[in-house]
């Protein structure tokens, strides 16, 4: 009893060697600490995006000046980049499956694929932003400019952080430091990545697909 390790972080190399696998860390809920922690962070992040989305909805159609969504949006283009982001969730699942099987080569491939798909999405966003900017929309043009750029910008920042995380995992995998018992590291990154994708589906629906009232000029 006395020597049960109760608190160290899961998957720490120190307890990888011997028999001390994950079962040494039975928790009261049955969910490991790190996974529960990630779920809680994501719950908190829901409110973060929720507040921005609510602001967007509140201000929708209030503008009387500057270009608006109807003028600017290129739905087919954004649909394509959205599809790419969604596909990255699939590759993420494949990466997790690979490490759970102990297939390190496929793990590396799918991690890289996920990061690249994410980067393609970000590239699309950068292109979109510059394009809108060229057509006269900036942060200070109108409420649409403010709410659109800040909401999608913070989402883009989340994706970028995810890409850095994935690339770091890929780097570790390339050095052979991600093995089957570390699969939870991939799982947690996956939780984050899927969350960011789901948030994008909401944002895409709210901003691009729901018809805009008002502002005939836009």
């Amino acid at each position: 009893m006395a020597t049960i390790e109760q608190t160290t972080e899961i998957g720490a190399p120190a307890n990888r060697g011997g028999s001390a696998g994950h079962d040494a860390h039975a928790t009261a809920t049955g969910v490991t600490n790190k996974k529960l922690g990630m779920w809680l962070f994501l719950a908190s992040d829901c409110l973060f995006f929720g507040a921005f989305i609510a602001t967007y909805l509140l201000y929708r159609g209030r503008d009387t000046v500057g270009p608006g969504p109807r003028l600017l949006f290129d739905i087919p283009f954004t649909s394509a980049t959205s599809f790419i982001l969604l596909m990255s969730s699939l590759t993420m699942v494949l990466a997790l499956a690979a490490i759970q099987r102990g297939d390190e080569r496929r793990l590396r491939i799918w991690l890289l694929a996920t990061a690249l798909l994410g980067a393609t999405f970000i590239a699309g966003q950068v292109f979109e932003f510059t394009e809108f900017n060229r057509e006269g929309l900036a942060l200070d043009t109108n409420l649409f400019g403010s709410t659109f750029f800040i909401l999608t910008g913070f989402h883009g920042a989340h994706v970028t952080a995810g890409i850095i995380w994935l690339m770091s995992l890929w780097g570790m995998a390339s050095q052979g430091r991600l093995k089957q018992p570390d699969s939870e590291k991939i799982e947690i990154a996956g939780l984050y990545w899927h969350f960011v994708d789901v948030v994008w589906i909401v944002i895409f629906t709210v901003i691009y697909l729901v018809p805009q009232p008002g502002n005939p000029g836009g």
């Binding site: 160290t8 529960l36 908190s44």
Partner: protein
Amino acid sequence: MTTVSGAVTAPRRALLLRRPTKTTGAFSWLTTIDHKRIGIMYCSLSLLSFLVGGLEALLIRLQLAGPNGTVVSAAQYNELFTMHGTTMVFLMGMPMAVGIANYFVPIMIGARDVAFPRLNAFGFYVVAVGAIFLYSSWIPGINGVPNGGWFGYTPLTDTPISAGFLPGRGPDFWSIGLIMLGIGSTTSAINFIVTILNLRAPGMTLMRMPVFVWMMLVVAFLTLFAMPIITVALIMVFFDRNYGTLFFQPAAGGDPLLYQHLFWLFGHPEVYILILPGMGIVSEILPVFSRKPLFGYAVVVFSGIAIGFLGWGVWAHHMFATGLSPVAISAFAVSTMLIAVPTGVKIFNWLSTVWRGAVRLTTAMLFALGFIAMFTIGGLSGVLHSVVPSDTQQTDTYFVVAHFHYVLFGGLMLAVFGGFYYWLPKVFGRMLDERLGKWNFWTMLIGFNLTFFPMHFVGLYGMPRRTYRYDEGLGWDVWNQIETVGAFIIGVSTLIFLANVIVSIKFKRGAVAGNDPWDGRTLEWTTASPPPAYNFADVPEVEARDEFWHHKYTEDDEGRLMPLPSGGADAAPAEEKHGHGIHMPSPSIYPLVMALGLLPLGYAAVYHSFAWLGLGVLVLLFGMYAWAIEPATEPEPETVTGRTPEPVH
């Protein structure tokens, strides 16, 4: 460190700073990930903030001591009340609860540490860095002391710097500083929830947890969901000021009221974040000094949870004067009256706990009783605010200032002082002096009431809050004089407390506490005072609520208490073993490094400086990667060389 061998690990270690191994000295505090030490650091920071915020309050009171005060200018006055409010809420109140909980929640649930020890240290350093950042705005030449009030209403705070109603960079420092503090409190909230849900000792079911743990669980959820909302509001303010966005610019269709909604959607849960820990503390103190279990444990717990839910549905009672629709106003008035019910229920539970108990009037108990009385007064004036016609008269007058000081000072602060007298013997192994303690309590109670009770009157006589000066002959003069005298009595009382701590603990004049000085009921009293690094040599098996009590006492047929022969603190095995073989996570410097990275990032935001940005990103990334690579726990040999737990006493 050097005893660790292994060809695999050697090359990458070279990348990192040396793993800290010392367990004493200043550096060991900077690298500690022991939840108890982090708790002490949180409480120290918080106490320091209380002194600083208190000094600001004394300056405010000096200025208002008589009509036409000349102690500070109007601009300085704005800075003083803004920094006072911001300090007391974010740098004193929240860190104090987090600190006490950091120390005691793991011990109370029978755990050896928190779920994420390094994240715990990170959270603390982020709060410390946020405090430094906020207060650095007072450096001459920076011209950026926050001055838009603790809730920073737009459009006052968010007009672009060029056209600002508020000259200087005050709201920039304020918004960025608060975002930092939000990061710190979110990480600690996640840590608490996971710790409480996952690391309870065998048998410690949810309904056996001490009420303080329950309240901190609710607080952690409130923090988790409230912080992102204010973060969004602050981001919008910051972008409005710095990058020309139009979120709260009425001329472009933006709506300043949206800011108020967002702020109070955070702000009302925030007041429960501040008061629930206080309720938890008195729920621990009262049963011990009444020698009775808490009356209606389940009711207290559920009303705490109810407050946690209802707290999200009352925010607009802060906005009754803004012209919301009658329907909205009525709904929020009703929900506000409703939330008084679970609060009132708790007051009756506490009173019933004390009723017919074998009451010992120790200082801790006095503070807890003081809490009940003062908090009730604050609660009553709170209910008055829910009556809309009445509130529209009171809004922005000193009546409101009186109300929230009765709940925050009379509530939170009195509970915290009670908690100090109750728990510091456990933390430092020495009792605080009871005679000084009683002086501390009575001067505090008298000073507090002298300061804040007259504010009800001047408020009803129409004295607006946040006024730096008033004419004579308005009927406010005498009351204000009394308030200032009262404030200085509070100051004296605080000095008595500090003297008590220094004499009893620093100079070791206090009696040795022993494991269980109060005949306590909960698990923290089964360990040594101070507890060893690993808390428990044997992880306890819990069989009852008030576990420790049931090891000491049973009841005879008539319900009288009977001591159990084998019970008592001395039977606890904690001291006999020395914790060999208990493997605790190793210290780490990277939480500090990573948190320090936020400081340059803050200045980068305020000054739009790429140099600061680069520096911040560099430090942050270095800290982050080094942290990720570093194992949470160094391999076994080190327990022998570097981290043998400190001997008890």
